[in-house]
Amino acid sequence: MSELENLMRDVARTVQTDARRRQLLPEIQARLVALDEKRRPTGAVWRWSMAGAMACCAAAVAFYVMQVQPVSFAVDGVTSAGTTGAVGQKLAAPDSSALSLRFSDGSQVTLPPRAQAHVDDVDNKGATVAVDEGTVEVSVVHRAKTRWQVRAGRYQIHVTGTRFAAGWDSRQQTLTVTMREGSVVVTGPGLKQGTPLVTGQRLRVNAATGEPAAAIEDANVPEPAAPTQGQSKDEQAEAAAVEAAPAVVVTEPAAPAPAREERRIGSARTRRAAPTKLAQLDNDWRGFEARHQYKEAFAAAVNAGWDNYCARLGADDLVKLGNVARYAKDAEHADSAYQAARRRSASADQPVFFLGRVAFDLRKDYVAAGNWFDSYLKRFPHGPLALEAAGLLLDSRLKAGDNAGARDAAKGYLDAFPHGPLASKARATRGQ
């Protein structure tokens, strides 16, 4: 049998297994019965259909009105509980308490004591909030076509859905942005093309001197996540260890360094922002990756500074970067990207799984692979990769010659996936 036929047989198994897993027959039966009922119109059905159609029209009109309606906001404070806010109205938090702006799209801006801000503009996609003095906490709810901005002096922070703190010192003309979640792009003096910031980074930039004096540092600011229900103490400790992992040093990409003036500000963990070059280099590996040219994508990412990417990218992109290295068969770089993804997000399941795949496929270290898959299943028993992790745990134990471990893995597999694609192998391993 040719490799093509082998490949197609595997595709067929995967596709058919997926279809069976979705148990379509009852759904199809139910749909056909419902369709049959619909096709037998009676007076009552006709009336209900008309009522339904009118309700749909009303809902469509309401949806349209909501879409074109600009967001509104209420101000919660000591003296003004839930009063409707007005665009342009200066808002100043008292000396001893905070002021909170609650927007109709679910977003919220909190002014701590003595902070000053005002809402500059609102439309149906979001709002523009101007920080006049102090540091405000911003939490924007992401929706389709969200357009939110925070303005501070001549700086703009472009937001989709995220949480961050924006501080403005009007006397020093200094902006500080501290990312708690998501990403933003900051534009303004000293930031030519816009500086992207991701979770855990902090930007300080001064507009007073007229010189580009921007600094991005790894702020290590994510708030500690509450222990997930059902996690064991070990798992909680592991998660905590991930959260508390030391901040990654942000370094310049290797290739373009000679052309760039580099000035360290403050500590060794700070660097000059170089958004244009970074964005261009970023596009290189992403472009190759999108075209499935993984070796080229890997070379481009290494050339541009692999460690820099590991320090800068969000968890999803780091998994993508790790996959690029894995497809290029470079275990070391793949591991570094997946480990960075774990540090970035303790709740992300894919890095754990793919670390197992690196150990299994590239390093042929089946003991380590088994440990990763075991870890995955303990932490994410219902994760999207649980079926594959359970199968690979079984394979890892078998390949490592760990018969007792393999029997345990087989039992776990059958308990969780009694009709899974490796069920027969698991039964054979258990000696049934």
Partner: protein, 219 residues
């Protein structure tokens, strides 16, 4: 209402029910006769009997796809609407297979048109998220269907019926309503195109070169 419909189910010709079970039709001739009479129970039996076939053909043509249930539904709606035109009950299976093939091909063509209208490249069209295998398995299956997306519709259908739905050549020819020679030509062309296009997809290229591990086996 016909006389047959007025009779209790178990007394109608060709049908009987076992205690505690739904009505059973001995063979396709009985089933088709009951469908011609408009027997609703026969519809349920037909769907139970042929849904696995339709699912295999549609899933093979579309891959892991959120619209599989919609397409299967369309196939059976077509079956119920056209059953009166079916004169030879022994051809029921191949007739349903043909309907499945043409319905799936229609869905593929509609998507292609939709993409053109949106002025987006295929890779830019957002995929509908569906549950399914992840990781490398997912990557290889996705890559397979991306390559199939580049094939002409008729060649794609012949290829998926033969290699993914694992039909015999004669069955493929019947389902596609073409001659055996035409199917062979389409398959040869599709295979060449597939292997050529697969070189651009690492997950397929490596597999075709070395026959690497897949990690999924039939239960």
């Amino acid at each position: 209402m016909s006389v047959a419909m007025a009779l209790p189910r178990e007394m109608r010709p060709g049908a009987h029910s076992m205690p505690g079970t739904a009505v059973v039709y001995n063979d396709d001739a009985d089933l088709v006769a009951a469908l011609h009479r408009g027997d609703r129970a026969a519809r349920t039996v037909l769907v139970q009997r042929y849904e696995p076939l339709v699912e295999r053909l549609v899933a093979g043509a579309l891959g892991i796809d959120s619209e599989i249930a919609d397409v299967i539904q369309d196939v059976f709606v077509g079956v119920f609407e056209g059953i009166r035109s079916l004169k030879d009950a022994s051809a029921l299976r191949s007739w349903i297979a043909t309907l499945a093939v043409f319905t799936a091909r229609g869905r593929i063509r509609r998507r292609r048109r939709w993409r053109w209208i949106r002025f987006l490249a295929p890779e830019e069209v957002p995929e509908v998220p569906v549950s399914g295998p992840q990781g490398e398995t997912h990557e290889a299956v996705r890559a397979t269907y991306r390559v199939l997306d580049t094939l002409p519709d008729d060649e794609r259908m012949a290829f998926s019926l033969r290699f993914i739905s694992e039909m015999q050549l004669t069955e493929v020819a019947t389902a596609c309503r073409v001659s055996l020679a035409t199917v062979k030509r389409r398959l040869a062309r599709a295979e060449r195109r597939f292997v050529e296009a697969a070189k651009d997809h690492p997950a397929l290229r490596e597999r075709l070169q070395s026959g690497g591990r897949w990690g999924v086996e039939e239960s």
